[in-house]
């Protein structure tokens, strides 16, 4: 058995041009080289080495609407594609004029999932919502969501409306990641305890590859509702710069007279960000606290069963 066949996959599928490559680029901070764009359907399974939530590998597939060559290739590789899938994320272009066709392809993907990976979680993203008038967005999304939920039975699908030009994309992917973490409630409780012990203003837990916020605790109201996305963008830009120098980002401390912020590796799949509003507490103290907490949280990750562990390594 090849190692590719055994790795758990996150499938990102949708019609050609629905925005998957842009979405992946934005979420995973992948540089989009010009030649991978618009030269035909995405045959991406060999290129995605993006590790996500530990051991999940992101695969991007164009689904439906191309020439017969792609159709045949897709059909013949179907079992290969849909085996070992942990998550299916299907992207619908809200502007698409071929709704029937889109639903048809979606259903055939669901059939393949039922056959090959019946335990997979299914998420549907109704994308490019910025092209719909603001007052109509809720209505149109509700309509699509009802259709999709109906079509997906017996599988359960969770629907989100997204656009790369507002906060909905980040929030949708954060929700997806949240649902993929098995012991997330436990993580949250522990995070709250940790925050209260070290007297932090806010503590955030990020997924390592995407800097999507998995969980957070705040002890008082914060002014900026978009701060998670902003921090994520800033860190991802920094990571892009670091990767150009073949360096990798490990930790960061930002300090001024009002606060001190620490971003550091936490567990093997997460980063933590701690905000202290009492600048008199020395950095070293906070860093020691974070280091001790790290051990505790890593134990938490190992506790759960082998199937769902984030920590699983398959050889």
């Amino acid at each position: 058995m090849t190692s590719t066949a055994m790795k758990k996959k996150v499938l990102l599928m949708g019609k050609s041009g629905s925005g998957k490559t842009s979405m992946r680029s934005i979420i995973f901070a992948n540089y989009i080289a010009r030649d991978t764009r618009r030269l035909g359907a995405t045959i991406d399974v060999e290129h995605s080495h993006v590790r996500f939530l530990g051991n999940l590998v992101l695969n991007l597939w164009d689904c439906g609407g191309q020439d017969t060559f792609m159709e045949n290739y897709f059909t013949s590789q179907r079992d290969n594609i849909f085996r070992n899938v942990e998550v299916l994320i299907y992207v619908f272009d809200v502007e698409s004029r071929e709704l029937e066709k889109d639903m048809h392809y979606y259903q055939s993907c669901l059939e393949a999932i039922l056959q090959n990976s019946p335990d997979a979680k299914v998420f549907c993203l109704v994308h490019k919502m910025d092209l719909v008038q603001e007052d109509q967005r809720d209505l149109i999304f509700k309509e699509r969501e009802d259709d999709l939920k109906r079509l997906s039975r017996p599988l359960e699908c969770t629907c989100f409306r997204t656009s790369i030009w507002d906060e909905t994309l980040y929030k949708a992917w954060s929700s997806i990641v949240y649902q993929l973490i098995p012991n997330v409630q436990q993580l949250e409780t522990n995070l709250r305890n940790f925050a209260q012990i070290i007297e932090a203003d806010e503590v955030l837990l990020f997924e390592r590859a995407t800097f999507l916020v998995i969980s957070h605790y705040q002890c008082k109201e914060q002014r900026d509702a978009h701060r998670f996305e902003k921090i994520s963008n800033i860190i991802k830009q920094f990571k892009l710069s670091c990767s150009k120098l073949a360096a990798s980002f490990q930790s960061m401390e930002v300090r001024n007279s009002n606060f001190a912020a620490f971003i550091d590796v936490f567990t093997s799949n997460t980063y933590v960000m701690v905000i202290m509003s009492d600048p008199s507490i020395p950095s070293a103290a906070t860093l020691i606290n974070i280091r001790n907490a790290r051990k505790h949280f890593e134990k938490l990750e190992r506790v759960d069963g082998p199937k769902h562990s984030l920590h699983m390594r398959m050889r």
């Binding site: 080289a33 010009r34 092209l131 920094f238 892009l240």
Partner: protein, 558 residues
């Protein structure tokens, strides 16, 4: 990427970033210039007190900064579309001096003229040389009937203009924001619409250019004659029939049976009375039109007309001066009106005449703005006032025409002269020695010589653009076109310099398409397509089309 050396978070000013307006011309190739940032609130200079950047704008800034790192600088994949960019009043332009300014109004420059400017622009554009023919037109139609016709034609052309204005909005699914009326015609009628609208536009433009040539020859002749007489202190004993006294009004072509169309002979004999060498070389129809070629043909060959567009204020000055001139003459000459309803007398014309189609033809061109009204109203700040502003502009134009027309007609000294003497160019009724009129002629001459190249440019752009795809295919093409137009002008000035006829024929022809037929048909088709065409509307608009055709036929019959 380009600037890896630059720290991502500038340690000195970690929170500074600027949001830039893509639309207002900052599209430089420099990728750095496209980076958004926002400015500390204390650095934002505005009339009001400090305003913070809104949360949406701030997070959009963060997004745009991040996305710009994900693609190559020339790649347009993750460029924000227009509808996600914050509203212009949330955008600040960063000055390198450390302050930031809000963008005033709409970034791309459209829609910032207040109503009064728009009304003035429309008035200015419509006020052409047809104002000189209005008294003659009133004479042709009869005084009362003439006034009624001015009002009716004004309302009619205004309604058709509103139809033109609204024709663009009725087109579904397509972005028509850069369309003009010929594009709308092309949409509805295909290439027939495109070519026919081009042909009719050419009729109006080339007709106007010919009228201009005739008038300019006239004015140049009179100006030259005045200057010659002034310099040589020649006391001209005018052999023309006219009044006596200081405010002399002449009748250049007196004849009992006074027809609208002067024969060519009458024009030819004008000025041949003396053997003067000057008069031989400075002849209204034989030589002066040719001298104009030297002045104007080079101007026509300019590639761009923006230089001439600066002189549009001269048109306003000329019209204002004409109004003052008319008022002064009226004050000095006094009123001479008698009302004879249906039959003509020696000195007066009936109030209702059968020659009225000539006046409607003139008025069609006098109220013509339909081929550029969309463009003119695009710059109106409050678009919802477009109808109101257009109506006010038409009202002002109508009042101006009525003022000039009624006054000249009313004060034309009828006991010695017949009202029939009123010339299609009313300045011709004043001798070349009249100093006030000399100033008017000189002003108009200068103004028209700046408008003439603009008209030529419009003809060239439309004709060449349509046939060859670009406005300046080669010097040869453009020169040929210019020679044709100038040749037509010279020939008309030589053999048939009756501007009344030229105006009414070209007015009725292009009015047929642009004023009567196309707007009505397009309106009916768009109503029909949306299933809203009702009988009264269909009948009314068909009646408009019939009126347009009758207008054209009337020119030939009457």
């Amino acid at each position: 990427m380009e600037d890896d050396g630059k720290p991502l978070l500038d340690p000195v000013r970690a929170e500074e970033s600027y949001i830039e307006a893509d639309q207002n011309g900052f599209d430089s190739l420099d990728p750095k210039s496209r980076r958004p940032f926002y400015v500390e609130p204390r650095n934002i200079v505005d009339k009001d007190t400090q305003e913070r950047v809104s949360a949406e704008a701030s997070v959009m800034n963060s997004r745009m900064q991040y996305y710009s790192r994900l693609t190559g600088s020339s790649d347009r994949l993750l460029i924000p579309p227009d509808h996600v960019i914050p509203a212009p009043d949330e955008i600040y332009v960063y000055s390198p001096l450390g302050t930031a300014f809000k963008i005033q109004g709409n970034a791309d420059g459209s829609g910032k003229n207040p109503s009064i400017i728009t009304i003035f622009a429309i008035w200015n554009t419509m006020m052409g040389t047809s104002i000189l023919s209005i008294p003659w037109g009133i004479k042709q139609a009869g005084f009362t009937f003439g006034v009624i016709i001015v009002i009716l034609m004004g309302i009619l052309t205004l309604y058709c203009c509103l139809r033109v204005l609204k024709s663009r909005a009725a087109i579904p699914f397509i972005d028509t924001s850069s369309w003009e009326f010929p594009d709308v015609c092309k949409y509805y009628f295909g290439s027939f619409g495109q070519w026919s609208s081009l042909a009719f536009s050419m009729v109006s433009l080339v007709g106007a250019m010919i009228v201009y040539w005739v008038l300019m020859s006239n004015f140049l002749f009179n100006t030259g004659k005045f200057i010659y007489n002034f310099v040589h202190h020649v006391n001209v004993t005018d052999t023309d029939v006219g009044t006596n006294g200081t405010d002399r009004v002449i009748c250049p072509f007196p004849s009992k049976e006074h027809h609208a169309n002067h024969s060519a002979d009458e024009y030819m004999t004008y000025g041949n009375n003396t053997e003067d060498v000057f008069d031989q070389w400075w002849h209204k129809t034989k030589t002066v039109p040719l001298y104009l070629i030297i002045l104007l043909l080079p101007l026509l060959n300019f590639k761009s007309a923006s230089f001439f567009a600066r002189f549009t204020f001269l048109g306003t000055v000329s019209v204002a001066y004409l109004i003052i001139l008319v008022t002064l003459k009226a004050a000095r000459l006094g009123f001479h009106l008698e009302f004879h309803w249906f039959h003509s007398t020696d000195f007066f014309v009936p109030e209702f005449r059968s020659l009225f189609p000539q006046f409607t033809g003139v008025l069609t061109l006098a109220f013509f703005i339909h081929n550029c009204v969309i463009t003119l109203l695009k710059n109106n700040k409050n678009q919802e006032n477009n109808v109101r502003d257009l109506s006010v502009a038409y009202l002002l134009v109508g009042l101006t025409y009525l003022y000039v027309g009624i006054l000249i007609f009313a004060v034309f000294p009828s006991p010695p002269l017949s009202k029939d003497c009123i010339e299609p160019n009313f300045l011709d009724n004043f001798p070349s020695s009249d100093i006030l009129v000399f100033i008017a002629r000189a002003c108009l001459l200068f103004q028209m010589s700046t408008v003439y190249p603009l008209l030529g440019y419009l003809v060239r752009v439309q004709l060449m653009g349509q046939i060859f795809g670009k406005p300046y295919p080669s010097v040869f093409h453009v020169m040929t076109l210019n020679l044709i137009i100038v040749g037509a002008g010279v020939l008309m000035a030589r053999f048939y310099p009756n501007i009344g006829s030229i105006i009414r024929y070209s007015g009725a022809t292009c009015g047929l398409a642009y004023v009567f037929v196309f707007p009505s048909v397009i309106h009916m088709i768009s109503l029909h397509r949306s299933g809203q065409l009702r009988w009264p509307s269909a009948v009314f608009h068909s009646f408009l089309i019939v009126l347009g055709i009758a207008n054209l036929i009337g020119q030939f019959l009457m």
